[in-house]
Structures are given as structure tokens and as C-alpha cells.
């Protein structure tokens, strides 16, 4: 176990290098560069000397691998580089946008768990009854509706019915908590609703599966009450696959924030990523993908560890 853990931790860095290498190459293979994007249709009038000077300034005249190697060397020194567009250090650009995204993700997750676990368990226990029917319909409806559509509908009907529009100006949580939560609760609920649909389904199926196991039958035969059987015997085992799925959920959550931030004009990482890809601001794209990569890799690592603790049958050799 100790060795396995060490091996996994040691692999975090190569994994992240793999992710960033793929993204650095991919983003540079996209047609056009920052000069084309900023100049737009006027790019034909950019004279060759100016272009060459700009390319030198942005290091675009080097090979892709050289650019990547330099980026890694700078990264090792703790320097994420500067945005090609704003010229400001990327670290400070990210720090300004991270809180909104993190808050959206955490709030979404909280909504998801609060909906998914109780409904999923009840749905399994009262299988094929009205609770199950309603719970599953709800889960699958939540899972089925695209979150960008729900977001647009919330804005459309929020305006038509209540005259509500998402505030144009974003406030930080510590700056103006009321305005901040007023902006974020709708997208967070939509984000959480989607994730909860998956978690709810999974909780239901795994609880059902476990309820058919011998040890649950034994527990019932011993005369334990339903409550004790479900919470004490079935649930801990049923949660194992739910935990595995959880690693995948984090990725979903990150993907969901991209579209929702765009629709609700939240100045977060997702919005910044889309803009940076559009503007071919290579180092910013690399930095954001690195950051999301760190979050995903660490949550996967955590999932694997929790997995082996929850299910002793799984041994990592």
C-alpha cells in the first residue's frame, strides 16, 4: 500500500507533463496565432518586419518543442509566464479568476450531494414504488437537460416572469456576499442538478445491487431493522462505486463551469480559457489546463486511495 501510494504520487508530475505537452502542441496546431487573431481581417496589412518582430517577442519563431521546454523550465522556477494579450503575469491573472470558478464548483457539488444521496437511497429502498418512479424521473430529467439550455431558460423566463436578469457586474464573495450569492446560486444549482442526476442514478443502482448480497440477507435474518441494514451494512458498500464515479464528476464539474460561466458572464477560469483559446494566448491556455489537470489528477489519486480503504478486496500489488 505504501509503495503503491508512493508510485502514484511520483506519477503525478509525469501525468501533468503529458497533459501540458499535449495541450501545448494542440493549441499551436490550431490555425492562426495571436497576431492573426488580434489583427483580424487587417492581418494582410501587417508588414513582414513587424510580424517577425512580434513573433520574436512572443517566441513564436521557435519550434513548438523548444517553446514547451522553455515553458517547463520557467514553470520549474515557479514562473507561469505572462499573458500574450495583457502582458501581465499569468499567475495574477489566474488568482483573480480562480475564486469565482472554485466557488461555483464547490456550491454545485454541495447541491449535487444534497440532492443525490437521499433521493438515490430512498429510490433503491422503495424500488419500483412511487418514490422510486419520481426519484428516477427527476434524476434522469436533471441529467438529460443540457445545462447551457437550463441556464438560458433561467435567464429568459427569469426575465419574462420576474423581470430578473443576471447582474452585469460580478462581486467577490468577501466584497459583497449578498450580490455574489445572488449571481452564483442559479448557475451553481444548474451545475449541481446535472451532476446530481448521475450520482443519484448510481447511488440507486449500487444500493440495489448491494441489497441483494448475502451479507445483507444475513443482516436481515438476524432481525436487524431496515434502517440498520441499509445504513450500516448496505450503504458503506454501495458507496464504493459512487466514490469512483466521483473522480469523473470533478471533471464534469469543470466542464460544466466553462459553459455556465460563459452564459452567466462570470469572470472565472472557464470563460478565460475559452477567450484565451480564441485569442491563441498559448501560455494562458497551458496554465489553465495545467491547473485543471492538477485538480483532476489529485482527485483521481484520492479516489483510488479511498477505493482501496473502502473495499479491502481490492489490493494494489
Amino acid at each position: 500500500m505504501g509503495r503503491y501510494l508512493l508510485a502514484r504520487v511520483a506519477l503525478v508530475v509525469p501525468t501533468l507533463l503529458g497533459v501540458t505537452l499535449v495541450v501545448s502542441v494542440a493549441v499551436r496546431l490550431l490555425p492562426g496565432d495571436i497576431i492573426d487573431q488580434v489583427a483580424g481581417p487587417d492581418v494582410a496589412y501587417v508588414n513582414p518586419e513587424t510580424r517577425a518582430a512580434l513573433e520574436r517577442r512572443f517566441a513564436l519563431d521557435r519550434s513548438i518543442i523548444e517553446q514547451y521546454a522553455n515553458w517547463v523550465v520557467d514553470l520549474a522556477r515557479g514562473d507561469l509566464g505572462r499573458s500574450l494579450i495583457s502582458g501581465r503575469p499569468i499567475a495574477s491573472e489566474l488568482m483573480g479568476r480562480l475564486p469565482a470558478t472554485a466557488q461555483l464548483g464547490v456550491m454545485g457539488l454541495a447541491f449535487a450531494l444534497a440532492i443525490a444521496l437521499p433521493v438515490g437511497i430512498l429510490s433503491a429502498v422503495y424500488r419500483d414504488g412511487p418514490v422510486d418512479f419520481l426519484g428516477r424521473s427527476l434524476a434522469i430529467l436533471l441529467l438529460a437537460a443540457p445545462s447551457f439550455w437550463l441556464g438560458l431558460m433561467a435567464i429568459t423566463y427569469g426575465f419574462i416572469l420576474f423581470g430578473w436578469t443576471p447582474p452585469l457586474r460580478y462581486h467577490e464573495l468577501w466584497e459583497n456576499p449578498v450580490a455574489n450569492l445572488g449571481t452564483l446560486w442559479v448557475p451553481a444549482l444548474i451545475l449541481g442538478a446535472h451532476v446530481s442526476g448521475r450520482l443519484m442514478r448510481l447511488t440507486r443502482t449500487t444500493v440495489l445491487e448491494v441489497l441483494g448480497e448475502d451479507y445483507v440477507r444475513t443482516a436481515r435474518a438476524k432481525g436487524l431493522r431496515d434502517r440498520a441494514v441499509i445504513l450500516g451494512h448496505a450503504l458503506p458498500n454501495a458507496l464504493i462505486p459512487v466514490v469512483t464515479e466521483f473522480g469523473l464528476q470533478v471533471r464534469l464539474l469543470i466542464g460544466g463551469t466553462v459553459v455556465l460561466e460563459r452564459i452567466f458572464s462570470i469572470p472565472g477560469m472557464g470563460n478565460y480559457l475559452l477567450t484565451s483559446i480564441q485569442q491563441r494566448d498559448y501560455p494562458v491556455v497551458q496554465a489553465i489546463v495545467l491547473l485543471t489537470g492538477v485538480v483532476v489528477v489529485l482527485s483521481n489519486l484520492l479516489v483510488d486511495l479511498v477505493y482501496s480503504v473502502l473495499d479491502p478486496r481490492i489490493r494494489y500489488g
Binding site: A7, L11, P14, T15, L16, G18, V19, V22, V23, A26, L29, L30, P31, D128, F133, R136, S137, I140, L141, L143, A144, A145, P146, F148, W149, L152, M153, I155, T156, Y157, F159, I160, R201, T205, L208, E209, G212, E213, P241, T244, G247, L248, R251, I254, G255, V258, V259, L273, I277, V289, T292, G293, V296, V297, N300, Y307, D311, R313, I314, G317
Partner: protein, 294 residues
């Protein structure tokens, strides 16, 4: 013992096809509903040319932004195109991308997951690290990059989305194989001297088949969602093919005054995903031997 009872068991007529279907409809109404809608969507996608009252590209400035009426049940869009016809053709786009990508993802993911989970060791460690890289990559961005670099043609979309989902499939299948290979029957087979190929084919794969199928059927819905997000952001199947996501994106500029433009394509996505997931749930309940007959 088990064989002996078969010999003396009286010939009981098992319920025929229709009776079984009826029983299924009673016990799994949502699953049957999902199955019916999925078949209907496949038929609509296939027969779009016959079913759609207008072409998906029938511009007419004279009839732009009409409300729903008998002639245009879902109304018309900004360019005077019939929304119902576009929703119908949208089903074709969704079905092609969803089914194609799910097949690609399932084939690649199951192969990797089974081998990785069963043999473990160095192969497992290496492939799972590649899967780690894959999974650490934001999915939407992965597709946006590849579509941007190559093209937004159907083959590129299907292969890209398939590759993207294969990483998740391989994880899920590997997890199931990890638990299955510790089973007593696998140990027994091994003790009897069965070779790896036989253990995989006879014991492991049949036991994780349910997981593979459930995973694939869950992916179908999620792929439809991804395709609509991609189209919404402008990276979906190329125009003039109407996809539900692009219809939603086009409806955005009109959304407050003509919410119906947003309503119908969104409902279509929701209905499609809902039905695929319901069908998947029912398939799961039927396939999983631990759930069968309960």
C-alpha cells in the same frame, strides 16, 4: 444435481414474446417508454427526408420569426426556416454522432480496461497513466482542439468523442474487472489450470458485460449532451446540417422575445437524453444477474 432436476421438470411453457413484452411494460414503464422514444428517434433520423414538412434550409425572409401555427407547428426562426423540420433533421445529426461515438468508445475502452484490470502489473500501470493524462484533460477542450485542428466533419467528431469517452469506459471496466478477478470462481478456474484467454472469455467478460453495456448506454445520453454543447459553442457538425445545439445558439439573440425558438430544440435534446438513459437503466436492471428476477 442441477442437471437431474432439469430431466424431471415438467414441460412448462415459458411466456412468449408478446407476453414478456407486456410484463416488461408493466414492471419497467419508464424503460419501455425510453426504448420506444429511442426507436422513434432513430426512425425520425433515418426518415427525416420523408417526415420533415420543409427542407432544413428553406430560407424565406417573408415568414421569419412566426409564432407556432398549423403550418409551422414550432414556428419559424430568424431566417424563416421551419423549426419543426430543423428539429427533425437535428435528430439525424444527434443519432449519428451518439451511436458512432459510443461504439468507438466501448470497443477501445473495454479492450483497454479488461486487459489492464486483469493482468495488472506494468501494463496496467502504464496504460492507466495514459488514461490519467486523458482524464485530466478537460473533455470539451479536447474536442474543441481536435475539431479546430482537423475539421468539424462527422468522422472527426465521432472518433474524437469516442476517444474521449474510451478513457472513462476503460476506468469503469477496469474497476469491475478488478473486483471480478478476485471472485472464487475465477480462482477455481485458475486452480483447474484454465488459461488466461479462457478465464477472460468465460468468466471475466461475461461478468463485466453488464457494466460495459450499462456504461455504453449511459454514455449515449451524455454524448448527445456533449454534441449539443459543442454545437452551441460553434464546434459541432458543419452547417448546413441543423444540430439542436446550433439551433439553441442561433436562438440566443431572440430569446427574450421568441422563447419558443429555444424551447423546442432544448426539449428535443432533453427528451433524447432522457429516453436513452431510461432505456439504459432498464437494460441494467434486466442484465445484472444480481438484480434479475427481483
Amino acid at each position: 444435481m442441477a442437471d437431474g432436476t432439469v430431466l424431471i421438470r415438467p414441460a412448462v411453457r415459458r411466456p412468449g414474446g408478446w407476453a414478456r413484452l407486456l410484463r416488461l411494460a408493466r414492471t419497467k414503464p419508464l424503460g419501455v417508454f425510453g426504448g420506444v422514444v429511442v426507436l422513434a428517434l432513430l426512425a425520425v433520423g433515418l426518415l427525416a427526408d420523408q417526415l420533415a414538412p420543409y427542407s432544413y434550409d428553406d430560407f424565406d425572409p417573408a415568414r421569419r420569426l412566426l409564432p407556432p401555427s398549423a403550418a409551422f407547428p414550432f414556428g419559424t426562426d430568424e431566417q424563416g426556416r421551419d423549426v419543426l423540420s430543423r428539429v427533425i433533421y437535428g435528430a439525424r445529426v444527434s443519432m449519428i454522432v451518439a451511436v458512432g461515438s459510443a461504439v468507438v468508445a466501448t470497443l477501445i475502452g473495454s479492450a483497454i480496461g479488461t486487459v489492464s484490470g486483469y493482468f495488472g502489473g506494468a501494463f496496467d500501470l502504464v496504460t492507466q497513466r495514459v488514461v490519467d493524462v486523458w482524464l485530466a484533460f478537460p473533455g470539451l477542450i479536447f474536442v474543441i482542439f481536435l475539431v479546430g485542428i482537423l475539421s468539424n466533419s462527422f468522422p472527426v467528431l465521432i472518433l474524437t468523442i469516442g476517444l474521449l469517452y474510451s478513457a472513462g469506459s476503460s476506468r469503469v471496466v477496469r474497476g469491475a474487472v478488478l473486483t471480478t478477478r478476485e471472485g472464487l470462481y475465477v480462482e477455481a478456474a485458475r486452480a483447474l489450470g484454465a488459461r488466461h484467454g479462457r478465464i477472460l472469455l468465460r468468466h471475466i467478460i461475461p461478468n463485466v458485460m453488464a457494466v460495459i453495456i450499462v456504461n455504453a448506454s449511459a454514455q449515449l445520453g451524455s454524448i448527445i449532451l456533449l454534441e449539443s454543447s459543442l454545437s452551441f459553442l460553434g464546434f459541432g457538425p458543419p452547417p448546413p446540417f441543423p444540430s439542436w445545439g446550433r439551433m439553441l445558439s442561433e436562438a440566443r439573440s431572440q430569446m427574450v422575445y421568441h422563447p419558443n425558438l429555444m424551447l423546442f430544440p432544448g426539449l428535443a435534446v432533453t427528451l433524447a437524453v432522457f429516453s436513452f438513459n431510461m432505456l439504459g437503466d432498464a437494460i441494467r436492471d434486466i442484465l445484472d444477474p444480481r438484480l434479475r428476477g427481483r
